[in-house]
Amino acid sequence: MVTVKINGKEITVEDNTLILDAARDAGYEIPTFCYQADLMGIGSCRMCLVEIEGQKKLQPSCVTPVLHGMSINTDSGTVQTARAGVLEFLLANHAMDCPVCDKGGECELQDMVHKHGPHKGRHAEPKFKFHDKDYVLSPVIIKNSNRCVQCMKCVRVCREVVGQNVLGALGRGDHQEPTSFFRAFMNCEMDGNCIEVCPVGCFMRLPYRYKSRPWDLKSSDTICPYCATGCRMVIEERAGTLMRAKAQLGVGLNSETLCARGRFGQDFVNNPERINQPLVRRYGKLEPVTWEEAISHIKENLTALDGDKIGGIASPRLTNEELYLFQKLMREVLGSPNIDSSSRFSPDAVEGFVAATGMGEGGVSVYDCMEADTVLIIGTHLSDENPVIDYIVRRISASRRMNVIIASPRAMKLDSSANIVLRHNVASENAVLTSLVIGLNEGKLADTLKGMHEAQLDANLKASGVSADLISTVVNRLAASSSIAIIAGTDFLRYPEGISGLGLLKDLLKSRGKKVTVMPVLDRANQRGAWEMGVHPGFGPGYSETRKGLGTEGMLDAAMKGELEALYVVGSDVASMYPGDDFARTALSKVGFLIVQDMFMTETARQAHVVLPGAAHAEKDGTYTNQEGRAQVIKKLLTAPGRAKQDINIIRAIGESFDRSFGPKHFALVLDEIRKEVPSYADVSLSFNNKRNTDNKLDNRGALVKAAAAPAVKVKSFNPASVETSGARFILTTGNHLFHSGRSSMKSETLLGLLKGAVVEISEEDAASLGLKSGEKVRVKGANFEAQMTLLTKKGTKSGVAFIAENFDDAPVNRYFRRGGGIPRVDIIKTI
């Protein structure tokens, strides 16, 4: 600890604190352009110059650490003159086209000049220009270098946080231009973090170009509806159209970063294809009706039914309040135990996963995981599925000594930050984890491992396809660390065999006295919330005991046999997401009465008897629980189009038609009920979003849910996943694409501009041996389905693995799967 005097005020701060941070702690604002806490300091903009007593020259406070006894003046006359001078030089070549510039009104340079600047320039020389016209760098970025202030935040964020490194600082001095290689079109992640950090109008959003001014926009502080990372963001609208989404510096766990989906994918809300009135099937055709007619039609058809013959599937993009009310409607009003929140994962796998990752034990912050000595990332393609977690891992792992171990069949961007990469076979997470367990145990078998012999190590190594050397390095690192974080992804739900291995490893490490944190990473915004609200056939709200019912699979089975008389689907597209060729479609057609509540006319909605128009995240209030167990608030900004309603109101209207007293009448009252019914949510408050985080900067711990009272879940063991034996060359795996997840991203104009047609991803070596190049059109041929798509190659992916994301309309990947048929194999053929 050192004591320094800032503007005459004495404060004590940690060693090596930067003067800038110390001054800000003391309550003095120092203007900056190039400083950002997450990025390496370069001290290039010179806005933060301060006077240190005893030193003749001013010092940049963003790179100068405090020393004991320093006396610093942040606002003396010299400092003010220096700031004005810096700004005068920045303006010397600045384009000054503020009226045209999209940043006008929220530009840091404008603000600074207004506050500190010389209000008169002395430079009469013609301005230096990099180029005349703005140029497009990617489908989402347009650039004007003439406005650059050379803070190089864009280049640094691209390298240090995003890990893409496609921007470079070309040239020197005032002629330095941050841009891509020869200003060419960039092939990057298109996440637009360079736009976000740019203090001026140098990097701009192309979709938002010349659409609005910051003062026209109404905004709401909400949560991204794509993956379960739970990034805080601000969405802004003008005249009822959602204009843009942006992140806020120092707010939310994501701070100023978002991924392509989060930043550019919110415009699905504006899509004209949104359903805007209730429809009822009459004489084989869906016809518009009033809400009263639709609800009474539903009541008529559900009244006489036995609860066991009714099913309900709710999407994990609904809010906690909606999900809670949904399960209440199903269980208490309709008397049905058959509810599920996913059309992809089996309820047993979910139960096992919930138990193995310890979701019942309360929330785990990602920043807790990042404090561990070793982080093991397994069962997820983190860079594509949860890009912001990828940024956090990259940023933190570069700034402190820690082991990052990644196990995945597919190469990912984060591999470059990993110390060890385990390239295992598809669906062999269990073999990898078991090998680690055996390795850690060194023959001294714990009770839980009785009956497992070292001979099994070989079998497991063979199954996983990972070399014994790599496993033993990982084992050594795990053994040497005192705290370990395991980040486990959705592959455990797809191939549930790994769950027992995960539980085993966790218990073993714990029994060795290590601190183990397990964080699940999920791909739907409120997946964890859906489970915690009890939208699951195996457990009720708060993982409580309940009457067991059927999951999606069971319901479809029953429907196939003609035993399911009614199915209420909210926001889920079962027909195109359920892995098993045409099974879901056929089963749904046999359901006696199908109610679908959604934003768009999905495959499922087309088969419905009643279609109810629901609302998007921007049109409702509520809470989302992210994968960490952070309950965060989403806020209404727009009104749903036409006669569409918030899902909570629709669910309540159906409930009220049976029971006048059904449900609390307002989302906040529903949350109150949740707080009472689910003990782990007792502390959840609607005011989290209003708070700027203070402790640990980004980690808002108050929002983490507490441990459940007595979680009725246990780790189960599952049969190993079988692989089809068709002899085709590639094993097909699926998941989410970087630009697409779920159904809504396929309705976002900007994301479709980034990627529309289906792509299949294989390793570079495989492509070379097939004589194929990246970008070529290929046919992907499976046992029961065949489609044409574009080939992408990735360096380092395991040979023999083909990946198709589950989102594409033109190549529905679920068609390749066969019910109970194991993991499909496909062949990739060049289209002639």
């Binding site: 490194n165 470079g168 600082a169 070309l170 020197r172 891509s180 290689f181 020869f182």
Partner: protein, 156 residues
């Protein structure tokens, strides 16, 4: 396209450094020498591949130094006039103006007969004899207009 020999040279230079990336300056120099005075986009892409970096990083390294010329071919004689503080104080501005006038080109350009390229560079470490310039690999110091005229006559 880098020739096989140039590639070998680059690979050999890798041995001098702990980190592959550090060899970027050497690699660009080799490419520039082979290309007759400037580096092109294609070369930088190849260098990036050899050194496992992004092409834009190679570009950024090359663009920083005035000794590298990107995408602009040079003439037979490359006149590089120092414009840093000592030379500027001793009249580098006039020297540059004079050169521009007598060659009929602007700084950064090449004469139409591809004979002479004129450019300005940062300090060449010969401040004691300012103003000065470098023509190809040779220094010409304590410049005056008369000296330059004489030199240009020789280059013709």
């Amino acid at each position: 396209m880098l020739s096989e020999q140039a590639k070998q040279e680059i690979l050999a230079s890798l041995k001098k450094y702990h980190d592959k990336r550090s060899a970027v300056m050497d690699a660009v120099r080799i490419a520039q020498k082979e290309n007759g005075g400037h580096v092109v986009k294609r070369d930088m892409e190849e260098i990036a591949e050899i050194l496992e970096m992004q092409p834009v990083e190679v570009n950024a390294a090359a663009a920083f130094y005035t000794m590298y010329r990107i995408d602009k071919p040079v003439g037979r004689h490359h006149i590089q006039v120092c414009r840093n503080i000592s030379c500027s104080l001793m009249g580098a501005e006039h020297i540059i103006k004079h050169l521009e006038r007598s060659l009929g080109i602007k700084t950064g350009e090449t004469t139409t007969d591809h004979r002479i390229t004129l450019s300005t560079v940062e300090c060449l470490g010969s401040c004691g004899t300012a103003p000065m310039m470098q023509v190809n690999d040779e220094y010409y110091e304590n410049l005056t207009e008369a000296k330059i005229d004489e030199l240009l006559k020789k280059m013709a």
